[in-house]
């Protein structure tokens, strides 16, 4: 709508204009995106029998989205993202157990608490190679898991945190046994946070993150405060993961030690990579694909479903995962060719190396 070809001159202000126009254009919603969310909303009505697993998908989708913020956009690999997920879950669970049963209050507290934790631990991941980061984040998650195990007076230890009873959402909607309220609640929260994340990644802040990811040295050289940006996004992602964990705690009304376990961090990494990192929808699509596949396979063969999941992963990689996800990504506006033909203006974002 601001397209004005006469502005294509070499003055600094016109460059700023061009960038601004580009960002605005990227910020527009495409048909595929609107359709995606409409379908998601429609499942509330059309798939009443599947609300429980859909609730889990929404939560995992949000969790994967949070990992995408740091992995896909800022290039920080993490094998310990469950630290924040679990911390949020315990924060919300403990709060509800002690009488503060309002779900939204729980979300707010959980997100603040995990943001603090994220801020504190973000300084650990600023240095080192990818492998180092993987192991440091993993170590943080394992340590938290041990702490939760030892502090059984607070967390219930290995037996899990019991006695959570949640109040109604907004004081109106009780959580029901069919999981409808739970799903609607998780979906709404996921959607709101998605919109915020979408806004952030197309902002100049998001742009600076991607330039850090693609080349930290150059980013530093052009004056981007690299460390500060990374700390900021890591804190944000932690808060997102905390909200996802809080949603799980509130909708299942139970928290056990495995919210912090290694397999949760590893699974979420798989989900994100399957869906494709670096375009926000990757986490959501990965969550849908992974959970549905797992549900079908484990209903079919409860003992050996892992074999088929493994086979699918192997085939997926050998068949060229990146090509597949790139094709899906082409549905979103960012990868469409820009009308002014400036294809080089932004780097395309293939899933980056760990």
């Amino acid at each position: 709508m601001h397209a004005d070809p006469t502005a294509e001159t070499a003055t600094p202000s016109s460059t700023a204009d061009a960038v601004r126009r580009r960002l605005v254009r990227k910020g527009r919603w495409s048909v595929a995106e609107i359709a995606f969310w409409l379908v998601a909303a429609a499942t509330l009505v059309f798939l009443p029998e599947r609300h429980l697993i859909l609730n889990e998908i929404a939560i995992i989708g949000l969790f994967a989205l949070s990992l995408d913020l740091i992995l896909g956009y800022a290039g920080i690999v993490s094998l310990g993202h469950a630290a924040f997920f679990g911390f949020g879950a315990y924060a919300a669970g403990i709060l509800a157990k002690h009488g503060l049963a309002d779900p939204l209050l729980g979300l707010a507290v959980a997100s603040l608490a995990t943001a603090l934790l994220g801020f504190a631990t973000s300084f650990l991941v600023l240095r080192g190679t990818d492998l180092t980061k993987l192991m440091v984040t993993l170590g943080v998650a394992l340590l938290l898991g041990e702490i939760a195990n030892q502090a059984s007076w607070l967390t219930g230890g290995a037996d899990g945190l019991q006695g959570i009873s949640m109040g109604p959402v907004l004081g109106l909607f009780e959580f029901d046994i069919f999981g409808t309220t739970a799903y609607a609640y998780s979906l709404a929260v996921t959607f709101v946070l998605f919109v915020i994340a979408r806004r952030i990644v197309v902002s100049p802040f998001g742009l600076s993150l991607r330039s850090i990811r693609d080349n930290p040295l150059r980013a530093r050289a052009v004056g981007i405060p690299v460390n500060r940006r990374l700390v900021a996004v890591y804190t944000l992602a932690a808060a997102y993961a905390g909200v996802a964990g809080a949603l799980l705690a509130q909708t299942t009304q139970f928290v056990s030690l495995d919210v912090l376990a290694f397999h949760r961090s590893a699974d979420i990494m798989l989900v994100l990579v399957i869906g494709g990192a670096g375009y926000l929808y990757g986490g959501l699509l990965g969550a849908i694909g992974f959970k549905i596949l797992q549900d079908i396979l484990s209903a079919w063969t409860p003992q050996y479903w892992q074999f088929w999941i493994g086979l699918i992963l192997v085939v997926l990689v050998l068949a060229g995962r990146e090509r597949l996800t790139d094709r899906v990504k082409a549905l979103w506006p960012r990868s469409r060719p820009s009308p002014d033909g400036k294809a080089q203006a932004l780097p395309v974002t293939p899933a980056r190396e760990v």
């Binding site: 429980l52 290995a158 037996d159 046994i177 069919f178 299942t252 139970f254 079919w300 085939v315 068949a319």
Partner: protein, 391 residues
């Protein structure tokens, strides 16, 4: 190309599921069996599933005019998955009973659901004492750790053991066992020192060294079944058996499932438990034989028995309630008593926990294979934790 085959396979699987769901008869009683079928506790799930299927095979699939249908789900040992599966089974599959539950948190997570939906939940494995208090719809057919542990403490103090070190895995059942043992043993004037090992612990050697340094008369040990073998081997490797330290504990450490593979290191260990595959009764001989025949010569352990008796409780409860579910079924289950392969048992009407004999056993070689041979019986033991509360 290959991706397409995968997709179509997935589609086919979906179609089968959809048809399978539609074909179920109206007069069916569905039982949702939720177990860890993969992951570190998979062997628990396997034993229970095999036993439940064996029971159905032996007793037919029609009870009180209802066709019994078993739906097995894998919760991978993760509590929130157990809860979701239970919820899906109740809401979508309309199951009349949920059962299984391999570990304490896995049994506690769905407990509120059982209350809310009035669906009886039969706990076939998890052994923390408090589980049956989490919902009035929970019935247990396995055992509680204090139930198996307190007799051990009594036996030890009666047999000249004065100083004991306890070594337990650091989680619900382990702590239960530790508390029950120390409480009962020090009440009899014994001296106890406690050690806890992390649940995920590849190497016991440092803890065993501590035991060796403490020089107790006996080492009381509780580790989840499966880890027991490693523990035994390291116990002997460290020479603790030769320095005169007796190995005692509830029967998890000499689990029948792996006992024979442990070899001579296990010989002489004294345990108290509610079931041994070597229990001498016609019911048990028939059970062990049928179980081995159906499962490629796998020996049943106490997990399998929990599953087998769990199915029995469901069947008998349905007979008594004339096929009605919900509250009628749970009330029918209360007070049931029968002769199980483990001996005479009954369901305590107050606590819905199982009352059973606890046996003192010693590992011996019988016909070339290692077994827990029972040599003393403490009849009709109630869960001591809940019994103490009600007094």
């Amino acid at each position: 190309m290959r991706r397409r085959t995968v997709l179509s396979a997935a589609g086919a699987a979906l179609a089968i599921l959809a048809f399978g769901g539609a074909a179920s008869a109206q007069e069916a009683m569905k039982i949702g069996l939720i177990l860890p079928m993969t992951g570190p506790f998979a062997s628990t799930g396997r034993q229970i599933e095999a036993a439940a299927k064996l029971y159905m095979q032996q007793n037919g699939d029609t009870v009180a005019g209802k066709k019994i249908q078993l739906i097995v789900k894998d919760d991978t040992g993760v509590a929130d998955v157990t809860k979701r599966l239970a919820q899906e089974l109740i809401v979508n599959d309309k199951v009349g009973v949920i059962a299984g539950f391999g570990l304490t948190p896995l049994a506690l997570a769905p407990a509120p659901l059982a209350t809310q939906a009035k669906v009886p939940a039969v706990v076939m494995a998890a052994a923390t004492a408090t589980i049956t208090e989490a919902s009035p719809y929970i019935v247990r057919t396995s055992f509680t750790l204090p139930q198996a542990t307190v007799p051990m403490a009594n036996w030890a103090s009666e047999n000249g053991i004065k100083k004991v070190v306890t070594l337990v895995s650091d989680y619900g059942p382990g702590i239960d066992a530790e508390k029950a043992f120390s409480g009962a043993f020090s009440a009899k004037g014994g001296q106890v020192e406690s050690l806890r090992v992390p649940l995920a612990n590849p190497d016991f050697s440092p803890f065993l060294q501590k035991v060796a340094d403490a020089k107790p008369d006996a080492l009381f040990v509780f580790v989840p079944s499966g880890v027991g073998a490693q523990f035994m081997k390291q116990f002997v490797e460290r020479g603790l058996d030769k320095s005169g330290i007796k190995l005692i504990g509830p029967g998890d450490v000499t689990d029948d499932d792996i006992l024979n593979g442990m070899g001579d290191v296990a010989l002489g260990a004294i345990t108290t438990h509610h079931y041994s595959a070597a229990h001498d009764s016609p019911e048990n001989k028939a059970f062990v034989e049928a179980f081995k025949k159906a499962n490629n010569n796998m020996r049943p352990n106490f997990m399998a028995l929990g599953g087998y008796d769990g199915m029995h409780v469901i069947y008998e409860g349905l007979k008594k309630s004339n096929g009605a579910g919900g509250e009628a079924l749970i009330n029918a289950m209360k007070g049931l008593s029968w002769t199980s392969p483990r001996g005479p048992v009954s369901i305590d009407p107050q606590t819905r926990d199982i009352i059973q004999n606890i046996y003192v056993r010693k590992v011996e070689r019988v016909n070339g294979e290692l077994y827990n041979v029972e040599f003393a019986t403490i009849p009709s033991v109630k869960d001591p934790v809940k019994a103490a509360k009600s007094n």
